[in-house]
Symmetry: C2
Subunit: 354 residues, 2 copies
Amino acid sequence: MDKKTTIRDVAQRAGVSPSTVSRVLNPHAAVHMRPATRERVLEAIRELRYTPTKSAQRMRRQRGDIIGVLLPDISNPYFSLLARGAESIAFEEGYSTLICDSNHSVERESRYLDLLMAEQVDGIVFVPVGTPDWQRIQRLRDQGVRIVAADRCQDRLLGVEADNWHGSHCLTQHLLSLGYRQIAYIAGPLEVRTTQERLRGFQDAMRNAGLDPIVIRHGAYTFDSGYQLASEVLAGHSVDALMGGDDLVALGAMRAAESLGIDVPGQLGITGFDSVPLLSLIHPALTSVRIPVYEIGRESMTLLVRHIGTTDSPGDPTVLPVELVPGSSCRQCKEPSPRLDSSLTSSPHDRGGD
Amino acid sequence: MDKKTTIRDVAQRAGVSPSTVSRVLNPHAAVHMRPATRERVLEAIRELRYTPTKSAQRMRRQRGDIIGVLLPDISNPYFSLLARGAESIAFEEGYSTLICDSNHSVERESRYLDLLMAEQVDGIVFVPVGTPDWQRIQRLRDQGVRIVAADRCQDRLLGVEADNWHGSHCLTQHLLSLGYRQIAYIAGPLEVRTTQERLRGFQDAMRNAGLDPIVIRHGAYTFDSGYQLASEVLAGHSVDALMGGDDLVALGAMRAAESLGIDVPGQLGITGFDSVPLLSLIHPALTSVRIPVYEIGRESMTLLVRHIGTTDSPGDPTVLPVELVPGSSCRQCKEPSPRLDSSLTSSPHDRGGD
DNA sequence: ATGAAAGCGCTAACAC
DNA sequence: GTGTTAGCGCTTTCAT
C-alpha cells in the first residue's frame, strides 16, 4: 500500500518549497510568480499525479468545498430528481455533495444535521420532514453554515419552492370547469408544508365557487395510503371527483376505483400532483400539476452557493411556476364554468434534465 | 459566528488533558480509566455540545468513517433504491456516505473516482458505467481503498449482482411455455454487463428450444429508446413477442405497439426486466423479472464494510436470486411447452425496504 | 518572487 | 490512569 503523495513530495521534485506549490494550487492567493517556476511545479504535480487531500485543506481553511443535501427519501423519484438538480450545480461550482436520507424521520434528520456539522459543510440544501430542529439549525448557522430550504420552505430560512397553492387552485378550477361538483380531497401529512399549501389552494377555489368539499382525509404520500383512503371515501360518500395529494396517492385512488368497478373518468374524475416523469406512462394519463423539481434542486443550490461566504439573511422564498397537465383521468370538457382562471403560468424554468 | 468548540475546550472544562478526552471518544483505545474522570469528560462534552471534527480525525487517522457510492444516475429509481440500501447499512455501521452521480459518463465517473480519492474514503460501492478506468481503480487500491462493484460486477473486483442470466433464461422459457415463438429482443447498451448477461440468458433459452431470435437490437435503457426500436422492429418483422432489456424499454415498446394499433397481449406479448416498484402500477401489468436491488445495495455495503481494514482479495461475485413476475402483458397460458424449467428461486432476500 | 515556520483539531506513542 | 509531545497535509503570515 503506497504512501500518500504530499505537497512536500511535489515541492521536492520541483525544487521549490511547499508554499510555492500551494500558491500554484490556490491562484486566488494572487501573488505573481515566475512562469518557469509555476511550470515546473505543474509538471511535478502531473508526474506525481498529486491531488491535494481534502481533509487537510478543510482543516486548515476551516471548511471547504462540500455541501450537504438532506432529504426525506432518495428512493422517491421526486426527491432524487431534486437531488440530481442540486448536485449538477454543485459539481459545476466545484463542490462535493454529501447526500443524506432522513427516511421521513425527524430524529434521523437531526442526526444528519449533526453529521453535516461535523463534516464542516459549507452549506446545506434542506428538504425538511415536518418541523425541523431549530436548535440544531441555529447552531449550524452560528458556525457559519448556510442553509437553503428546498421544496418545503420554512419561515426562518431562505428557500425555493413551487407554487403549490396556485397549482392546486388551478387544478381545482379545472375540475370545476369540467362540471365536477362533488369533490373529495385525499391529502398528505398535515405537518408537511406542501400539503398545507395544496389544501389551501383547493379550499380557496372551492369557496370561490360556493362549494364545500365532500370530505378531506389525510394520509401518507404513498400508493397504499391513497388506495386505502380512496376505498373508504368511495364507500362512504357520493363523489364525482377525487383529488390526490400527489400522483402516487392519485394512482392508489385510481386502482381503488377500478377494483370497485367505478369507471374513470366516466363516473369519477381523478387528479394528482407532481407529475414525476415515470408516472406519465400510466394509463389513463393522470390529470396533474407538473412541478419543476429538478429546477428546484438547481435553484436551491445556486442560491446556496451564491450565499456562501456572504452575510446571512432570511429572505423571501423563491417561488417557481407550475403547470397544469390535463389528462384522461378526467372527462375532457363539459358544462364549462364561467369563472375559469386561465392565467396558468407556462414555466420558462422547465425540466432542464437530461 | 461562534468559534468552533475543540477538544481542548472540553479538556479544560473537565480539568483533564486532551488525550483523556480523546480516549473517552475512542473507547477502542481500550485503556481503563477512572469512571469519575470519564463521567466528568462526558458531562463537559454534553454541556459544550462538542462534536469531534471529522476532517481533523480523518487527517490524523489517515482516512475514516466515509464511504463513496458511485452510480450512473441517482434519479433512476433502480439506482436510487440501490443507494438507499447501501446507505442504510453504512449509517448503521457509523459511516457517512458520499453519493456520486456519474451521469452515465465514464469521464465523469473518473472525475468522481479522483474526488473520492481526495476525500480519503475508506471504500467505494461502485456501479460502473461500462468499462471503468482501471488505472484509477488501481491507484485507489494502492491507497488501501476497498471497492465493491454493485449490480454490474467486474472481473478484478469484489462484487454483488443479481442472477441476470437465470432471470432472463426463465423469462424466455416462460414466453416459450406460453406458446410464443417469434421473439425479438430489444437490449440495452452492449458494454453494460447486465445487458450481456440478460442477452445470454435469452439466447441460451432460445437455442435450447431450437429457435432463433427474430432480431436483436441495442439501445439505451430508456423509454424513448424502447419506443423507437420497438416501432422499427414491429414495422419490419413479423413477431409475436417483444422482450425489453429493462422495464422502461418494455414500456416504450408497449406504447409503440399501442400506437400501431397492436393489441397487447392478444397479438403481441411484451416482457421487461427489473420490476421497479413504481412500474408495477402500470397497466397492463408487465411480465418481468424482479431484481432485489435494495438488497444488492445492502449486500454490497455489508461486504465492503466487512472488507475494510482487511487484506484485499478479488473473490467471486455474490449472486442474488431473482424472481419471475408474470403479468398481463403476455397471454396467460396456452400451448404449454414440455421443457419448462420451473426451478425459480423465490428470493429470501426480498425487498426489506420500508 | 519565494522560503521558513506556525499551526488548524485531533490521535497515538511514549512518559510518568 | 493520565499528561506530554509530536505530527497528519495543508495554507498563510512574515521574512527575505
